[in-house]
């Protein structure tokens, strides 16, 4: 089975966006998905991760049975957890640097809002239980929680696909109506998970179902022309409205189209209806307009994204590490826009180089006959 390069490409693109958005005041952040659509890199990442997971582990379930597939999923969960702990270590190291720099500084008083500084031991435990989610450490816990539910969903897809779909969408809907359904987090009494898994599961499992069906006969209605037109209209409307906000932010006299009315539908925590719909519409457009092995996906310009998307967990962690290093560089040299662009470019180049290195290494290790097989099997990377 030929590898679907679109999955790699768009996941890689999402990783680039996440990296760029994580560099503060980065002028490039004006050009990422969040400026032109209601959804952002988080939706792309979760949807594609759901799709590939459904595809890879769904296939494993068909071949090796649900038990083996389940163990494989939990092995992946373990890898994600280790990555999360690695990022937390990085965060703590950065905190140590920051506190040193901040000690009795201008911001010391404000920074004491960071309750975890008072009880670092508790923070470590809460990070291990996924409840401590400081900035830049909020999406892996979501992914871990969702993947833990995947084996059950896969079994459900085979036996009662309608019931699973209904339950998943019903849960999403209930979360939209009752804002109190969420997971408690740390610190503070009112802190909750930055991404509510009860809402985001709908996107992930929809992706997983599509991926699972894609290994068999596909889903007929995805090709429906009217659905395509509807998705195109939705994406266009999303673009016009969201881009008007971006332009308004850059130059005030350009009016922003009804922002206040749409805010309630744009919750990031609860995957608001507009974010959900916009993400699905974009996915449908891509599925229609870009062939899996088309020239646009094999072009040299697409190569960095395909490579990064193929090794997404490693590149995601590397991206976080690089954005932290980028902070330090910008901080030490007091860089302005050109420096931020340079840091972004260097970071993108490093991410791509490491991904290319990993690709080369994996290919060099695999015996010739296994290469094609391996290429298909690693599709389940993060």
């Amino acid at each position: 089975m030929e590898r679907d390069l679109r999955l790699d490409f768009f996941r890689g693109l999402a990783l680039f966006f996440i990296f760029i958005d994580h560099i503060p005041n980065n002028p490039l952040a004006q050009f990422t998905l969040q400026s032109v659509a209601f959804s952002d890199a988080a939706e792309v990442f979760i949807l594609i991760s759901g799709y590939t997971a459904g595809m890879v582990y769904g296939r494993a379930m068909e071949r090796q049975g649900p038990l083996v597939a389940g163990v494989r999923v939990y092995h992946r969960v373990w890898q994600l957890y280790v990555a999360h702990v690695f990022l937390f270590t990085l965060f703590m190291a950065m905190m140590a640097y920051t506190v040193g720099a901040l000690n009795s500084s201008l911001y010391a008083e404000e920074f004491r809002a960071a309750d975890f500084l008072k009880e670092p031991g508790v923070a470590v435990v809460k990070a291990l239980t996924l409840q401590f989610q400081p900035a830049f450490m909020d999406i892996l816990p979501l992914y871990i929680a969702l993947l833990m539910g995947l084996p059950f969903a896969l079994v459900g897809f085979r036996r009662w696909p309608g019931a699973v779909g209904l339950a998943s969408s019903a849960l999403w809907l209930v979360v939209q109506l009752d804002k109190m359904i969420e997971l408690p987090a740390y610190p503070g009494p009112n802190q909750v998970w930055f991404f509510n898994p009860f809402a985001w599961q709908a996107l992930f499992f929809l992706g997983a179902w599509l991926g699972w069906r894609g290994t068999k006969d596909g889903v007929a209605w995805v090709a429906n022309r009217w659905l395509f037109r509807f998705a195109a209209a939705l994406a266009l409307a999303g673009f016009l409205i969201r881009f008007s906000w971006t332009l308004h932010g850059l130059y005030d006299p350009i009016p922003a189209l009804f922002p206040k009315a749409l805010w309630p539908l744009l919750s990031k925590k609860n995957l608001g209806p507009l974010r959900f719909a916009n993400a699905l519409a974009l996915a449908l457009l891509v599925a229609h307009l870009i062939p899996p092995q088309g020239r646009s996906m094999t072009a040299a310009a697409a190569r960095p994204f395909v490579l990064c998307g193929r090794h997404s967990l490693h590149i995601f962690c590397l991206g976080i590490l690089l954005s932290v290093v980028g902070h330090l560089v910008i901080n030490e040299f007091f860089g302005r826009a050109p420096m931020q662009l340079a840091v972004s470019a260097a970071g993108g180049a490093i991410m791509t180089s490491v991904a290319a290195l990993m690709d080369w290494f994996a290919a060099a290790q695999a015996p010739p006959g296994l290469r094609a097989q391996r290429a298909a099997a690693t599709g389940g990377g993060a």
Binding site: H22, P24, N25, A29, M94, Y97, T98, A101, L102, S104, S105, L106, Y107, A108, E109, E110, F111, R112, A113, A114, D115, Q133, P134, A135, G188, N190, Q191, F194, W245, G249, D252, P259, K260, W263, K268, K269, N270, R303, P304, L307, V324, H327, I330, N331, F334, G335, R336, M339, A342, A345, A346, A349, I350, T352, S353, A356, L357, D359, W360, A363
Partner: protein
Amino acid sequence: MAGSFLRLAVGIFAAAGIWLLSAPAAAPAQPQDCDVAESFYSFEPTLPNTIRALASGREVIIAAIGGASTRGGTWGSPELAWPARLAAALVERVPAARVKVVNLGVARQTSGEMAARFVREVPALKPALVIWETGTMEAVRNTDLGEFRETVQAGLGRLRAAGPEVVLMDMQFSRVTHAVINIDRYVNILREVADANDVPLFPRHDIMRYWAENGILDLRTPDREKRRQLAVRLHECIGREMADFIVRGAHPSRPAPGRRR
């Protein structure tokens, strides 16, 4: 394919690195004044009622609600914090004015906690203007963005229902904390809410960044005594800048009111 691409990528990276290292370290001129161009907030709505009240010579009450960076006092008396400096700077600009700035800053409060205080503390003061500085706690804790937006929106509604004009003020700029706190997205939310409600936003974050990047204020000084002086100067500058922000539009025929020392 992968090999040649790898070479290309390494080449690009090396080039970027060389450019990065050869870029001159920032060595900007050192202007004495901390003025900023009015283009920082030229599109923000003005405060006609407050301006009128100031010019009338009646006593004008301004309430400043916020966190530690409003309360001040860490580096000296509250007299050195920006609300007190604002009062002095306003009288400089509008000699007829009788201004009293009440500092309601309390360290480490969330937007919700501040909003709850509006009801108790603000109406009794009968202020002409309320300046609400917020967002730091939410950014530090990585709180839900939608909830932050709703809280600020509800708080603004409550404040304005009580009658005064309102100014929103965003977070302090600090390059160091950026690495562990994603401040930008909370600044953006404040900007959006202010904009949608036609409430002026005082862009403290951008202004401080401008000062830092142009060497007007060295926000990174390691020396303790220098840092104390910096805090004093920063609050003085914020107070002066806020005064310019408030009286802007008062004399359309003249340029910005006299501010050069």
